[in-house]
């Protein structure tokens, strides 16, 4: 019966206004949520457990404030919640984050990992495949659907459409939105989550080789041209050719 791990990251609500103060983003006023694709990862992990048995551990890397997203995951139905962190860590680059998460997955004894295809803050999509490589596992990314038929059969984009790929052995699956509906926490789940204990563990991380220099608002776009009425489409078409040179 598989020991299933799902990665959940705490990120600003995607509706939040992102303010820059000086040369850093100021997140002091934002509301924090589970990164949207991680919700699909949680749902897929729970479906895997329902099909094959075992247990689901939600794992996050972050300071104590990240306990909230673990409790949210618990309310949805995961069995265990674990946070990996060490106050001595400085700024972590992707190498550090992946090393710590891979180490934590080893400590948990995870055999299959679900995570989001990209986190809402970084938009990177590096963590899932990077962890799989460190663990020496298979990985399938941007998965829109998973079937559990003995092993895992994942549907992922492929040239010209999508491919159904069978994965045997340990694997990391990064989840896209797809067609699955995510379940909501119920009252019992919320009560259980309140009392749930977060296991806090540490891990070794390599020194960072990428450091943040500055953060800034996106470059302002010069005001565009605005027209009234459908007939102006003819003029816009000419401008697309002669001014913008895009057609």
């Amino acid at each position: 019966m598989p020991n299933i791990v799902v990665l959940v990251k705490r990120v600003p609500d995607t509706n939040a206004r992102i303010v820059v103060n000086g040369d850093r983003v100021d997140l002091s006023a934002v509301k924090w949520v589970i990164s949207p694709y991680d919700e699909f990862a949680i749902e897929t992990a729970l479906q895997h457990k329902e099909a094959a048995g075992g247990s689901v551990t939600a794992l996050t890397l972050g300071p104590a404030a990240a306990d909230k997203v673990l409790k949210d995951a618990k309310a949805i139905g995961v069995d265990e919640i674990t946070r990996v962190w060490d106050d001595s860590w400085g700024e972590l680059d992707s190498n550090g984050i992946q090393s710590a998460l891979a180490d934590a997955i080893g400590q948990i004894g995870g055999e299959v990992v679900y995570c989001g295809k990209t986190a809402a803050d970084t938009g990177a999509g590096s963590t899932g495949p990077g962890i799989a490589e460190r663990l020496g596992w298979a990985s399938v990314s941007n998965v829109s659907d998973v079937a559990f038929d003995g092993g895992i059969i994942a549907t992922a984009p492929a040239e010209g459409g999508a491919a159904k790929v069978a994965v045997s052995g340990n694997a990391v699956i990064t989840c896209d939105k797809g067609s699955i509906k995510v379940r909501k926490p119920n009252v019992k789940g919320i009560m259980m989550a309140k009392r749930a204990q977060v296991n806090v563990i540490s891990a070794a991380v390599p020194a960072a080789s990428v450091t943040v220099v500055s953060q800034s608002p996106p470059p302002a776009k010069p005001a565009g041209k605005k027209y009234e009425g459908g007939d102006s489409a003819a003029e816009v078409a000419s401008l697309l050719r002669d001014e913008a040179n895009v057609i």
């Binding site: 829109s144 459409g161 080789s209 102006s232 895009v246």
Partner: protein, 308 residues
């Protein structure tokens, strides 16, 4: 950090044009790139020579038949020299790059849109802010398309390396896309419809314009959620695809922050919306305040005349 390695983007059995843009990005980082071409037939590497680039290595192996992240990463890692890795910021290449980077213990910087020596800039928070990072050694870097100029082609100095890896996933079935139309993630021009299109049947008006322009058809989440005929694969935005085309035409789309997250970095944006206060107009280079019913026929005939 004077060595770099470009993992060539391949598509439909050929080296994709964005690879030439990666050469310019590598040069902007002060490096001379070696081009790695993963392939099953090394002749595709003959077109992978560029002014300013070094040699080209065709990495030929059975594993490159279908995408399998672990075997591709192992084969490329074995064949590529040390240095900073560059790849195109497409979903598959970002994934591959992250695996090769992890094999080498390199940090990854994805979706780079500006390079200043070893300082790299990419969007964060879905483009609501930009972040510049400094590299203090070799790294793995993916670069968005349509930002750097394409390097000129030149004769390729190709060496072929036979190298495969253990394939960890088995393709059981390929599900072809229902329509032969381009995917939004691959298109240079996208025309998208939102809830303002009124019904999924009305997307045929967008398809006709897409045919004229060789464009892909996209959709807002409201359109995808409201109509079963509009698949999620067409969705642009936070929980859909992030696109970076030369031209994005938004029709009957209000311009919610989560939609903008997926398309705001498009080079040119056209908005067609009957509500003059729709937020999309703040991001449009060309805005047309009108219904699509009165606008699209004019647009289609003007474009048809121009493209004829």
């Amino acid at each position: 950090m004077s060595e770099s390695i470009i993992i060539a983007e391949t598509s439909k059995g050929a080296v994709a044009p964005v690879t030439a843009e990666l050469v310019s990005a590598a040069i902007a980082m002060g490096t001379t790139p070696t081009i790695i071409v993963p392939c099953t037939d090394s002749s595709i590497a003959d077109n992978a020579g560029f002014e300013g680039a070094g040699r080209t290595i065709a990495v030929k192996g059975g594993c490159f038949e279908n995408y399998d992240a672990s075997s591709w990463a192992a084969a490329i890692d074995a064949a590529a020299p040390a240095g900073t890795l560059l790849a195109a910021a497409t979903p598959q290449s970002k994934d591959l790059l992250a695996r090769v980077a992890a094999r080498r213990g390199l940090a990854v910087v994805q979706d780079v849109v500006a390079i200043n020596g070893s300082n790299l800039t990419s969007p964060i928070y879905s483009g609501k802010a930009m972040q510049t990072v400094a590299l203090s050694g070799d790294a793995a870097v993916s670069v968005r398309a349509n930002i750097f100029p394409a390097a000129n082609a030149s004769g390729a100095d190709v060496s072929v390396v036979d190298q495969s890896g253990d394939v960890a996933t088995a393709v059981q079935e390929i599900i072809a896309r229902a329509s032969a139309r381009l995917d939004v993630a691959e298109a240079n021009i996208i025309i998208s419809g939102g809830r303002g299109m009124g019904s999924p049947d009305n997307f045929s008006h967008l398809e006709r314009i897409a045919d004229v322009l060789g464009a892909a058809v996209g959709a807002s989440r409201a359109a995808v959620d409201t109509w079963d005929d509009i698949p999620h694969s067409m969705q642009v935005g936070q929980t859909g695809k992030t696109v970076n085309p030369n031209l994005y035409i938004a029709v009957g789309i209000s311009g919610a922050i989560q939609h903008l997250a997926g398309m705001r970095s498009s080079k040119y944006i056209v908005a067609i919306n009957k509500d003059a206060d729709a937020p999309i107009f703040a991001h449009a280079d060309y805005g047309i305040v009108a219904t699509w019913e009165e606008t699209l026929p004019v647009l289609e005939s003007a474009l048809s005349a121009m493209m004829a």
